[in-house]
Symmetry: C2
Subunit: 306 residues, 2 copies
């Protein structure tokens, strides 16, 4: 490692662990990734796992550590209570918790919750990506974070006004791999954004009285009736699910400008296409870079405040 | 066995096998049930399995056998091609197929399909229950058959005009047992029709712009925020799913009178309650009795026609 280490930044999710050591300007000096996710760890193992990764990068013994994500969940290392919406993201660090850990200064950032009746929701990790977007100069607008549980968040001058989780990714997995639809969606076929059945699914889901549960089985029926192949079935299932999500989020947040998609790769392409079909332009941001920037901003604030 | 056997009637589903031997008036002389469902059988085993059950009831060697259900699927014993909607149910027997089977006369009834663009659908087994309803004097109206894959069918003077499958039961199973919601819905807790959270879920799902995928996660969030216990979570999940189904079917079929629910027990109670909350009265019919009556009607027609 060259340069002077300022902080260790950790994105500690359910299934992933990612660590960066950065200098005082936020420049990356060293990094490391593993599958030591919170979901695999007993509470008393977090400290040792963190220490192992820090030592593998020869981190100084007194280097401060800032963590975001599921490590702060009730079933994680130490619960960092949610900050309620409307939540100013630059102040998150004030609510960090500090687990007992062999003298090293460790800070776990809180998640954000929404207690609005009829719109109860929680996030943990995504708020730090959003804080990273603010660091990158995007402090207002509608953000879409595709994933197992997609999040949509409305930012206004650095404040999370409201957000919504959609179980789209998990539903696609369960339906395509475990429901009757697995007989129509081959395991090795991915949904393609440019398949006509994807567009058809998205536009069907945008209809005023679209009902997901009563339309899913038609994917199986089309297969049995010889009206669709596996690629069409995968694309249509994805189109119906992502289309339903986009339609609901358009109604809820009425985006005035572009939607900022945090994420890259195949999933981001599907969302970009679904948004385009709805007349909305998507701008892609790199999720890994954003969480690092959000963590760095918190580390900087923690130093200034101490 | 006393009385003179007229036919053996078989309801052969994916996971269940049910056999009745009836006299010429439809009276049950003997019956038998097992888990020898089509899903567990290789194609060349159907004949031997059937024969074993018939012999266990001492059925005469020349007794005719009429079968409904998944035994007639492409992956069953012998495919009985679907009859298309609008499908007159009293004529189903004309489309029965006869597998090669050691001299015994075996008839497998067809399913019904709907090729209407945007409403492709299939049923196999439920059409015979509907034929049984006609035998019982109910030849017109809207029918709801709750289950893993619920069916709603519109009958008009003995004819299936249209029908719709909803994947409600399978979604409840997948979501409550395998998704993130399993952490909020305890395995030993059932959804109760009289829980206030069931009614709340049904009425939320009836709202004009209800979006299932973006509301499911609130069940988990409510648990994390201390706003709901396991019984409330199970009832609300069930209410959202069944409510979404009922709302969509109301819009599609605009039922003028009562809805006929084919089924009994806990699931039928949930549907009855959801319909009542929507101002619709439900009348319950026994599914096992209906399939036997439908099979008997087909057996009688096969004899008259031969």
């Amino acid at each position: 490692m060259t340069g002077s280490p300022f902080a260790a930044l950790v994105d500690w999710g359910t299934s992933n662990f990612r660590l960066w050591i950065v200098d005082a300007g936020g420049g990356v000096l060293a990094e490391r990734q593993s599958d030591d996710g919170m979901g695999r760890l007993e509470r008393d193992r977090f400290g040792a796992v963190l220490e192992g990764h820090l030592q593998a990068l020869s981190a100084p013994a007194d280097l401060r550590v800032v963590i975001a994500g599921m490590a702060g969940a009730r079933s994680g290392w130490l619960e960092a209570a949610y900050v309620e919406t409307p939540a100013p993201l630059e102040g998150l660090f004030r609510h960090a918790v500090t687990p007992e850990h062999s003298g090293r200064r460790v800070f776990i950032l809180p998640g954000v919750c929404q207690r609005t009746a009829g719109a109860e929701d929680v996030m943990r990790g995504e708020e730090t990506q959003l804080a990273g977007a603010i660091e990158s100069g995007v402090a207002s607008g509608l953000f879409c974070l595709p994933g197992t549980h997609s999040k949509w968040a409305e930012l206004d001058a650095g404040m999370v006004r409201g957000f919504t989780t959609a179980m789209t990714g998990e539903l696609f997995q369960l339906l395509s791999r475990q429901s009757i639809l697995r007989l129509s969606v081959p395991e090795d076929v991915r949904a393609e954004a440019d398949h006509p059945s994807f567009a058809a699914g998205v536009s069907e889901a945008a209809e005023p009285h679209f009902s997901l549960t009563t339309r899913l089985f038609s994917i199986r029926a089309e297969g049995l009736l010889g009206a669709a192949d596996g690629a069409a079935a995968a694309a249509r299932l994805s189109g119906l699910l992502i289309g339903a999500e986009v339609a609901a989020m358009r109604r809820r947040y009425s985006p005035a400008g572009d939607v900022h998609i945090i994420g890259t790769g195949a999933l981001a392409s599907l969302y970009t296409r679904a948004l385009a079909l709805s007349g909305i332009r998507a701008v892609a941001l790199d999720g890994g870079e954003l969480v690092r920037k959000g963590l760095f901003a918190a580390a900087r604030s923690l130093v200034s405040a101490s």
